[in-house]
Symmetry: D2
Subunit: 352 residues, 4 copies
């Protein structure tokens, strides 16, 4: 029997992509789609490409929760904590693609989001999961057959953490933790569906600029993951740039090597991710290309070393809407439900 | 002494491009820029690329009229007729880049724009000018040293009329006037500066669709010009498409040839435009490319003949913001003031 | 047991896309990939996105035929007739994504391709199939459990024929067959994998032009299909344009209506394609958008009528690499093998 | 009387852009264009956009030198040293847009270019000039009315040096010189006119990747400039990325601040460039955008400080073809000839 799932906020870009993937997931059945803005309309009236494919009528948030065993929320900051609370009460698996449950430190949350924890029980129960780094937390949910609140990571934090984890996980980091610089470049879908001057076609097309320089909200989330792995507080410089393309993130990560013998670095990465089918460590001489992972759940990583300056340079690429959002949410669900990790996610990235 | 000009609606895309060109026009001096939305702000606060280049403070419409000998208006439908009236009263040369003065037939204006002529005197005095086709009307203004109201043509009507004029001007058209089909493709700047779902980057990028199929407001304007040239009512099918690029229009025009000997067609075009330096008739075997005219005031035309079906196929390309708007407005001004036609317009289209 | 398939010319763009789709087809197993240029290399060395997904070594053409029950060829003009001959001899199902078997008229083939039929038996046995129009030919192959040579249609001919078929199939066409104009716009992948000046990024990007105006080789193929449906020779004007995007074709088709009452046209199309799940007739007021079918096997069609000129305007959109090539080839295979028509093709077009 | 100039290598992208700018330069007259590949052809046969604008016939290298007082060379590595030698002999002003004369250290040249200095006299006489940093060297040429060999800087080195110079010029650098990281992103025109797999439209479009990670030939050129300013050897990490757009470079530069009081940094930059009209220091809160300088000779710089990590982050943007190549070459010529620095370069960057 298929698992009944619902999507709250189904008409945003993240919800849209989640719907597309879940509709072809072999083990689930979509029981409800909700939308604040389009309640009462058919999904295909909102997105023409869904003509004849999804003519479901959009319902309210509460109806979506009621009808589902697994609830996904794809909402703006501040809107999903309440839903998490309801799901906790009703013992449903809740997966939040928004940012409400990602930071465990209340002070950091206040500082970066300007919001507070309202329902502390929710935060106490939430687990933040990049499956490749936190698989155990998910298998615990699976084996306890318990309900759970899963905080799905942000797009930039996923790409950055996967690029750095093998070098800092454990007692002896291979890089100087004070020297990490993350220069990230993202496609426009990350900015969501709402039109604005900044995303108006002629303003973006053929252009490039950074934004929220060293003050993007994903900064504390990246630091939380890296600090957890390193066992001490790690600070990073994080600068995101907006690319005039639809999808994908490339992060270029720089750090000072602690040991000049980095000959083994590729093996360390390969070993670290040996059970992680969605991470591909590229061969020496190959550079990660955003194109190679688009429309898939893969994260490609290429490793470079500048012997002149003793710097490690790591490139990681993901599709921000899949591994950086909807795909990773499904991957989290799969593990938490004891399904094969790649169920519904075995897409081959197209070459063009 | 330089001519004092003002731009009303200077912060829209058309006004912006007009400003850029006028700032380097050797014979004019920009005395006032007005904007309804940004009055009181500096121009460079609205457009970052104008930093240190235009730090003029935006003023009101009336102040702009007062300070200028030549007034350009770059406004939405229905907003410029009143300004035209004021300029007529104050004996200023008024050039309207909007659509209010383009149609001379009141009924057609009502039907396509849903608006009426309020100030009939304005419409009685307005002259619609594509310089290559209506140069005489402009030289009359110049020689009479009179004030004037010039209706600057729309972008699509410019490209379409230049492609067809040589074949239909005069007593014996070379094509069957009942068979004209105009398939046009335009860059996004034609849609203006206001963000919308339709111009949100991810919605447009890597896509293509037609819009306002056979019901675009430029249809009667095209027909007005062609009918004037042919001396009888001409109807056309006009279908515009929105390209995921910033600038440029390509029109592909189809019509049945009346005479199968079209060997002389290239000469006819070359002769027709022999005094029109901005129209370039391409050599046999060459196809008009939108890229070749971008950032310039040129209109390139290529001529093709399908002997199998006896159809003439004409391609014309222009930069919608220059020859299709701001550049043509300056060209109109130049002639009406007795200046060299290409003053301030001698840009070479970049290759990339 | 899965059907063994092989792809000849697997490293071109068409072969590449076919591979991607076949790798996730539930009923087939890929037994061989051949490539003239890259024989002996691993597939993932040619396309980085296939890292860890396809590390198969490329073999020769003959080895690919030997190992396969179904042979696909993705080759340039003139190269697949010989392979078709071999497959005919060995009683294998052969599906040609090239152009060698498409035209049944030897004189037209000579005229447009500058080539002749060498192996006449091949041409006598080849069936040209757009499944929506020629399903019966395929079910005959299926029921006879016979071998077969299938000529997979070109991308433009698919989009054009699907747009026009319902209006001309049968004794009484609804449009004047002498007035058909097909203005088509295609993404760059249609030009294939070989770099050239015309496909060099800065030459294409932000540009647009037509090419092979009224002399593209797909013209006789379109006419062959339309003539077959209409029962008389049909000639069309066909002008393709090259869009600065990767994928997709939009065709805008114009024709004079024979009957001014076109109120029923939408029903006629819906009825005509009622058993064709991949064709979606859009609702009144909706315009076909290339974006809505990308990465899928769908063909969306929108219908418009210009009452002022009595013209029918039909827009059809397909993904040139899927419904216009690899997807349609699989659809043809599925029917010819008695599999569900949409096996391996049930992709939902992404919204962005 | 106008100065006679010639361009060697006029049909490459750099030569093409130089031609476009020089054709509108008020003080020069183009006397000769040479091209190895297209000698004997008209320029407009090579570039369609030059139809009727440049129908000059391409000549040989020697003829171009003979006919010109100022010779520009736009050639690949290794091809311009010989021309420099000829110009030195004939006492002509030579401006090299290639890389042969850029590095003054013979060993570095060997190491990074795999080439040696053949004519040492050429290298002894060559002056490398970013006008904002080396104006004096140019005014010396001007006042001595001497001939000169000017090495025009590379695109990346220009953007990087302008971003860093004010912080390191002089005895007390404001940043730790061991911590400089330059993450650069460039449009495709930087790769030149020759088609390749890497610049084939579908391979690049909607993609992004780094290339020549920490091994690009512009690295020693950047270090040469920075070391010269700092008075000691400076090493940098330099990683270029290829953007799917035509023009422009954005560099994001990171370095550790030596002094936490960076409140004055904006004033330092403003002061440093107070006589440099093409450098615009953006206001606090504004981020440099590549779009704001395209088609102009400007370099915009925005300054950011990450107080959490004590890092200075500097963004600089230029048009790689203008300030990064042809425009800077003209700027160098202007100063060396005693002309106004911005002669022929006063273009306003278009907003779209």
């Amino acid at each position: 029997m298929k698992i009944k799932v619902g999507i709250i906020g189904a008409t945003g870009y993240t919800g849209n992509e989640l719907l597309r993937l879940l509709m072809r997931h072999p083990k689930v059945e979509i029981n409800a789609l909700s939308s604040h803005s389009f309640e009462g309309k058919m999904y295909s009236e909102v997105y023409q490409n869904y003509t004849q494919l999804c003519e479901t009528v959009l319902v309210s948030e509460d109806e979506a929760i009621e009808k589902s065993e697994v609830v996904f929320a794809c909402l703006s900051s501040g809107l999903s904590e309440k839903i998490a609370g309801k799901c906790l009460g009703k013992k449903k698996l809740f997966i939040d693609l928004g940012s409400d449950l990602r930071l465990s430190d209340r002070e950091e949350y206040k500082q970066w989001y300007g919001l507070d924890f309202i329902n502390e029980q929710v935060h106490a129960n939430a687990v933040y999961c990049i499956p490749e780094l936190n698989r155990r937390k998910l298998t615990e949910i699976a084996s306890a057959k318990t309900t759970g609140l899963i905080a799905n990571p942000g797009c930039y934090p996923t790409a950055a953490a996967l690029a750095l984890a093998p070098l800092i996980d454990g007692a002896t980091p291979m890089i100087d933790l004070n020297t990490i610089i993350i220069d990230a470049k993202s496609g426009v879908t990350g900015a969501g569906r709402t039109p604005s001057s900044a995303t108006h076609f002629p303003e973006l097309n053929e252009g490039l600029s950074a934004y929220k320089v060293a003050e993007h909200r994903h900064t504390p989330e990246i630091e939380q993951t890296l600090s957890g792995l390193a066992g001490r507080k790690v600070r990073v410089v994080f600068v995101p740039h907006l690319l005039p393309i639809n999808r994908g993130i490339l992060t270029t990560v720089y750090a000072n090597a602690l040991d000049t013998d980095l000959s083994g670095i590729r093996n360390i990465f390969a070993d670290y991710y040996k059970n992680s089918g969605f991470v591909r460590i590229l061969k020496s001489g190959v550079t990660a290309n955003l194109k190679s992972v688009k429309y898939s759940n893969y994260c490609d990583i290429s490793l470079h070393f500048d012997v002149r300056t003793n710097r490690v340079i790591i490139m990681s690429v993901i599709d921000n809407m899949i591994k950086g959002a909807a795909g990773q949410a499904i991957q989290n669900m799969n593990i938490a439900l004891g399904l094969p990790e790649n169920a519904g996610l075995d897409y081959i990235p197209p070459s063009f």
